[in-house]
């Protein structure tokens, strides 16, 4: 019902990892984003079902000029932060200025989602204008993501350290929940903000959240997360491993597999590396990998086989599934053609060099090591050697930047905008294909970069769609990427939890939730 709240009980939510900062541009890290999503509002609301943008703190959709270099937002009135300060134009400009430019002096990085940002202007108390140095068609979507969660003025003055653990209760947003208590590294208590009254219009529920609050609890062991929910000690848990999903078939339990609406979980073949320069080798790898077998063995129906580089529900999705047909014979033939002959140990050789590739282990991705292990087994059959780069997260992050250490990069990105493709592959962003060699600065395939850049520089949706499709087609043609499956965020929950939703890339939202029984 409208306006009423409270008396709904406190929900217990289990996270596998500890959050490390509440600075919104760093909300891409799931545990961070999971918290930020509860305590901040954004200018726009991206409907997770339709992925359409709708007004939220902005009273209406922005006015955008023709080349998408100027955005004007009208703000809703009467919105306040939980410390009582108003959410006004000046504050919004201050927010987006920080997110768009970052502040290295305070250790605050720029937001990945905002491109070509120049400056913001206060037009009047409730109107703001943002100006870009070049077209920035993704900006409207960018201000709908948690990376652009709005913060009070005082909060914006904080340094990177002051966004870290130990400061949670002082991070002030305008969202439906307020951080009330923090146990560093293990627990965060969120309390419902009673006077909250500016939910996006399309949400069926308005006013304050229906539950009293949420307890975020860190439980890194998967079996513990599963067991606590199954035994009724907790209400919701994130990241339910695929093999445990069947436990949630039981009465009173359920699963929510939230789509992440971005680049699928895929293998990026770094074509700059001598071993992968030949397209026939890349095609052979694709033909030699039985994606279906992998998904069947390791995952469930919540992990649909990828049919394109982007998820079906992602913006700009194009079906390129015909490129990913499993055909061992073809794979062998391609390798033969490329001059790779089986060696003594079964691994192919050419000019004394072995066809042996190093994969990374994508620690944040589900069962990455097992995925790569199965691929290792499959590729061995066509005479390709696979190694897995050893090491923990930091070591993996460091290694993946270089062509010499990682030749096949396993990863995914969730973000419900056309930009996501560019984000992942463009040489100036994540550079997943190492199109730009960080050591030499040389760009191997300028055409790819051009196609990707187009997605972020053409202003209209239709144009962007076309640009994205062109890029996807090109990538598929070139056999640069083998998408494996659409990666969901799988939440396990008790049936008593009703109204559990996620935002557009799978961060939980507790605003609508009610607890029964």
């Amino acid at each position: 019902g409208e306006g009423e709240s409270s008396g709904g009980g406190t929900l217990t939510y289990l996270e596998p990892q500890t959050w490390i900062t509440l600075y919104p541009p760093q909300g891409g890290f799931y545990p961070n984003g999971g918290v930020i999503n509860q305590i901040t509002d954004r200018l726009l609301w991206q409907n997770p079902e339709t992925l359409e943008l709708e007004p939220w703190i902005a009273a209406e959709l922005p006015e955008v000029n023709a080349d998408a270099t100027e955005y004007v937002f009208k703000l809703r009135e009467g919105v306040t932060y939980s410390d009582g300060t108003p959410l006004d134009a000046e504050n919004v400009v201050k927010n987006i200025d920080l997110f768009g430019k970052g502040d290295p002096d305070r250790g605050l990085p720029v937001s990945e989602a905002i491109n070509n940002y120049d400056h913001g202007e206060v037009v009047d108390e409730h109107t703001v204008r943002f100006v870009f140095s070049a077209p920035s068609p993704g900006f409207a979507q960018a201000v709908s993501t948690i990376n652009s969660g709005l913060l009070s003025n005082a909060t914006l003055d904080r340094t990177s350290e002051e966004f870290g653990p130990g400061n949670a209760t002082e991070i002030i947003g305008s969202g439906p929940f307020v951080i009330e208590d923090e146990k560093i590294g293990s627990e965060l208590s969120l309390k419902t903000r009673e006077d909250y009254d500016w939910a996006p219009e399309s949400r069926e529920h308005q006013g304050a959240a229906r539950i009293d609050g949420v307890d975020f609890i860190v439980a890194s062991e998967a079996s513990v997360r599963v067991g606590t929910v199954v035994s009724g000690q907790a209400d919701v848990a994130r990241t339910i491993p695929a093999p445990d999903e069947k436990q949630f078939d039981a009465d009173g339990l359920g699963l929510v597999a939230a789509a992440t609406n971005g680049v699928d979980n895929s293998l990026n073949f770094r074509f700059g590396h001598p071993l992968l320069q030949d397209i026939r080798v890349r095609q052979a790898l694709i033909a030699g990998i039985d994606r279906e077998a992998i998904v069947d063995t390791l995952f469930t129906e919540n992990y649909p086989l990828a049919t394109g580089i982007l998820a079906k529900s992602a913006r700009g999705y194009t079906d390129t599934s015909s490129f990913y047909v499993y055909d061992q014979d073809r794979a062998k033939q391609l390798l033969d053609e490329a001059g790779w002959k089986p060696g003594a140990d079964g691994i192919r050789e050419k000019d004394g060099q072995k066809l042996e590739l190093t994969f990374n282990e994508a620690l944040p991705q589900p069962r990455s090591k097992e995925v790569v292990t199965l691929i290792q087994e499959q590729l061995a059959e066509i005479g390709v050697g696979v190694k897995i780069f050893p090491g923990d997260q930091v070591a993996q992050d460091e290694a993946q930047r270089s062509l010499d250490t990682i030749q096949v990069f396993h990863s995914m990105v969730g973000r419900a905008d056309f930009d996501v493709l560019k984000s992942q592959l463009y040489s100036g962003n994540r550079n997943a294909l190492v199109n730009k060699n960080p050591d030499t600065g040389q760009i191997s395939d300028p055409e790819l970069d051009r196609l990707l850049a187009a997605i972020a520089s053409v202003p209209t949706t239709e144009e962007r769609e076309a640009a994205s499709a062109a890029a996807q087609q090109y990538i598929a043609d070139q056999a640069y990427v083998l998408p494996l499956f659409e990666e969901p965020q799988v939440f396990g929950l008790r049936d008593a939890v009703q109204g559990f939703t996620t935002e557009s890339i799978g961060r939980p939202s507790f605003y609508d939730v009610t607890l029964e029984g």
Partner: protein, 332 residues
């Protein structure tokens, strides 16, 4: 202990502290990646090389390691533990959160482990029936080969999920300690039990035990008032060395049970190349380690009157006190 001996010990402790600090610093620097990488390098942030370099410069991560090392020592001496490179949280806050919980866990686990070890050792040496004794004799090696995480998960599965006796989530402070303490007890009890068992084996062959028996002592009298007090010294030595075990076991235990604590902090700090946190942990660990061993040393003479007056055991004492020299030496 004379003032000079005390000074000497403090000097040694300081030396160990400095060496451990430096060692930890060097080792951490040897791991791939650095703190900036750990914090900003994740692909999820999508930062480009240039942006990373900028942040690196802000944090001074591009300066020579020696300079940073010296600065960190300076800051430590001022009592400034700095900020976590990973999360930016105050190291002192992190410690304030982690220490009490770790101490509670460790001390309960230690007490429990000693109790368990005593039960094992006594049953293994004086239990009814050869069969029972044999089974208990094999418990310490069994415990050593049980993975800590396995013990933890099984305990949770059984006591919390299946039997519903103790909630894992939302438990009271006391409840939340039970299972982790039980888990941690296993790897700690094993070596204590083993040493205690061997020690009892040795003591019970001493003539005085037979003499006590000849005075009409019952088995329990013999055990508690005769054998046990004599068998305690090597156990005490063990306790001093067990410290590492306690921290190591805590890493896994705390992660299984989702507790904050020094073990968890250590693992995180290593994983994130979080030098300030790790150095603080090392300093605390070293201080505790040195203190424990000092306490152990001071306890020896309380437990064994033969060690009361002398500073160095004479050749002769070795034959009089078969259990003493080992403990003395190990503690030196």
């Amino acid at each position: 202990m004379t003032p000079i001996a005390l000074l000497r010990r403090v000097g040694q402790a300081l030396l160990v502290l400095v060496l451990a600090y430096t060692g930890a610093y060097i080792l951490l620097a040897a791991l791939p990646g650095d703190a900036v990488m750990a914090r900003y390098g994740s692909p999820e942030l999508g930062l480009s090389e240039a942006q990373l370099a900028e942040i690196r410069a802000t944090y001074g991560a591009d300066r020579p390691p020696l300079v940073r090392y010296l600065e960190s020592i300076g800051a430590f001496l001022r009592g400034d533990l700095g900020y976590s490179a990973q999360s930016g949280a105050k190291v002192s806050d992190l410690l304030a959160e982690a220490l009490p919980s770790s101490l509670a866990l460790a001390s309960i686990a230690l007490v429990g482990a000693v109790f368990l070890a005593v039960v094992i050792a006594f049953t293994a040496s004086y239990g009814r029936g050869a069969w029972l004794r044999r089974v208990f004799r094999n418990l310490p090696p069994l415990f050593v080969s049980l993975p800590v995480f396995w013990v933890g998960i099984v305990l949770i599965q059984v006591f919390s999920f299946k039997l519903g006796l103790i909630p894992v989530i939302g438990a009271s402070e006391a409840q939340s300690l039970v299972l982790p303490a039980l888990t941690l007890m296993v790897p700690i009890a094993a070596p204590i039990a083993q040493v205690f068992l061997r020690s009892i084996d040795e003591v019970r062959e001493q003539p005085f035990v037979a003499v006590t028996q000849a005075r009409g002592a019952s088995t329990s009298w013999l055990l508690w008032r005769g054998v046990a007090p004599n068998a305690l010294l090597p156990v005490l030595t063990m306790a001093g060395l067990l410290f590492g075990e306690l921290v190591g076991g805590a890493i896994v235990t705390e992660s299984v049970f989702g507790r904050t604590g020094i073990g968890h902090l250590t693992a995180q700090a290593v994983a994130n190349r979080d030098t300030p946190v790790l150095l603080a942990v090392v300093v605390i660990a070293t201080v505790v380690f040195v203190t424990i061993n000092l306490v152990v040393d001071l306890l020896y003479p309380l437990l064994d009157p033969r060690l009361r007056q002398r500073t160095g055991g004479s050749r002769r004492d070795a034959s009089v006190a078969p259990t003493a020299p080992i403990s003395q030496e190990a503690a030196a």
